[in-house]
Structure formats: structure tokens, C-alpha cells
Symmetry: C2
């Protein structure tokens, strides 16, 4: 995997009337302060790509549906390598993404999927770099 990217398996706890799903604790590895928490939804098959944060550390969980994340680190010479991970309640993990890594994601379930990002800093458009989907050649077909 890319340096400083962390995939942490999380617990889903059976509770009568409805389960509890862990997301992030302040003492967890990958936690680097709280700036903002927000949800991002992604429709079936839709692609949101590409975005890179210059400062923000992302902590992502997927409590609804199934989302494929594609990470791409062009800081190294190894530019052709994409790192893929599919998160859902069946593979219920937290994905920690360090700054300067390109990320895109795609809705993989037939209904709309949803991620929670617990970000180390609040949203700031000045620390975000964007590329059009076609600027980084990746085969998104499901």
C-alpha cells in the first residue's frame, strides 16, 4: 500500500433494535485531530474523481452501500500503480488517507452509497487539488 495509508478493521456490535458501528476514536492510530465530519453520497456507478488534499488527513468509513476507492500516489516513480479497496458493511474498515495522495471513488451498490469522512481540518478549497476523471487513466468499468 501507499505510505501512511491505513486500513483498520472496525467492529459492528449487535444490539437489539439496531446495531452499533464503530467509526473512529481519538486514541486510534490514524487519528490526527478533528476538523470536520461530513457525509458524501455516491449514486450507483457514479464516479467522483480525482481529488488530492495538500493538508487534510481523511478518515473514511462506509456505513451504507458499497464504495470502491482508488488511490494513486504520483510522488513516487511508480506512477502506474493504483491501489483499490472496496468498503461496505461486509468489509467494514476505516480508510486513513494521508495528504498528497490522489483519490477517486465509485458507488458499487445498486442503491446510493454513503461515506463518512472525519477530516483532520475543516474544508478549505485552497488545500484541494482536482483533476478531471480522464486526466488520470484508470479503468472504472465495474
Amino acid at each position: 500500500m501507499i505510505n501512511d495509508v491505513i486500513v483498520t478493521p472496525l467492529k459492528i456490535i449487535d444490539v437489539p433494535g439496531g446495531n452499533v458501528l464503530h467509526a473512529l476514536k481519538a486514541e486510534d492510530s490514524g487519528y490526527s485531530g478533528f476538523g470536520e465530519a461530513y457525509f458524501s453520497t455516491v449514486e450507483s456507478g457514479a464516479i467522483k474523481a480525482w481529488k488530492r488534499h495538500r493538508d487534510m488527513i481523511l478518515n473514511i468509513v462506509v456505513p451504507v452501500g458499497q464504495i470502491k476507492f482508488v488511490l494513486f500516489d504520483d510522488r513516487s516513480d511508480d506512477k502506474e500503480e493504483f491501489h483499490e479497496i472496496i468498503l461496505s458493511k461486509s468489509n467494514y474498515c476505516r480508510l486513513t488517507v494521508p495528504p498528497m495522495v490522489w483519490m477517486g471513488f465509485q458507488g458499487m451498490s445498486k442503491n446510493t452509497s454513503m461515506l463518512l469522512n472525519i477530516a483532520s481540518i475543516p474544508h478549505d478549497p485552497h488545500e484541494v487539488n482536482r483533476k478531471f476523471e480522464e486526466e488520470i487513466k484508470y479503468n472504472w468499468s465495474i
Copy 2:
């Protein structure tokens, strides 16, 4: 409303491929530090009641389904008063609950609903008080 309970309307931002839903920023009123974030799901009609935190401040949003929250503050003389709020994407608000307030909630949509709690301290069973549903007389019928 009960002292220090805050209901904050939040933004849902239209984005092609899937919306973004705000939850909490570090500079928001009601934010009192980050201890833990977790999801709690609640099945249609199911009741989770009653719980009171001695130290934790809760910041709750409902990104999936519809949940009725009932708050009950027995620190005052005014013991018969229940405070109700229904949260969903149609009434997309953050509910901040201070310590020492009893809370219960119920799933109000036909599918399972889900809340996110961004708690000021990590889960600690020693700071939680519980009562059986029938110990506080409230009419939960929908």
C-alpha cells in the same frame, strides 16, 4: 427546550453523482472536543431508551431514515415535560445533548434508520446511566 440542548440546521449540498451532507465542524457551537464517532442504527418502530451520560456531550445527525428523539431532564422540578424532535434528511439538523439529560429514540421510517454520534469523550460504560423503557412513562406509539 432543555438548557444547553442545541438544534442546528445543517446544509445538504447538491453535487453531481451524490450529495454532500454537513455534520460537524470544530468551530461550530456545540462542539466540545472529539472523543469518538460511531453509528447507531434503529429498526422501524424499535425503541432505544433510556440512557443518560454523566460526562459525554453528544452531537447527533441522522443521514439515513427518520428518528424521533425524546429528551427528559429530571434535574428540574418540571418532571413531566418531554422534548421531542424528529430528525431526517427532510429536517436535517444536528442535535447537541449536554450531560445529565435522559434520551431515548425510535426508528420512524419503514426501513432501518441510522444516526451518527460525534461524542466529546470515548465510550465509557462508567459514565452511562440506564433506565428500562417503562421506568420513564412516555407514550412511544407512532
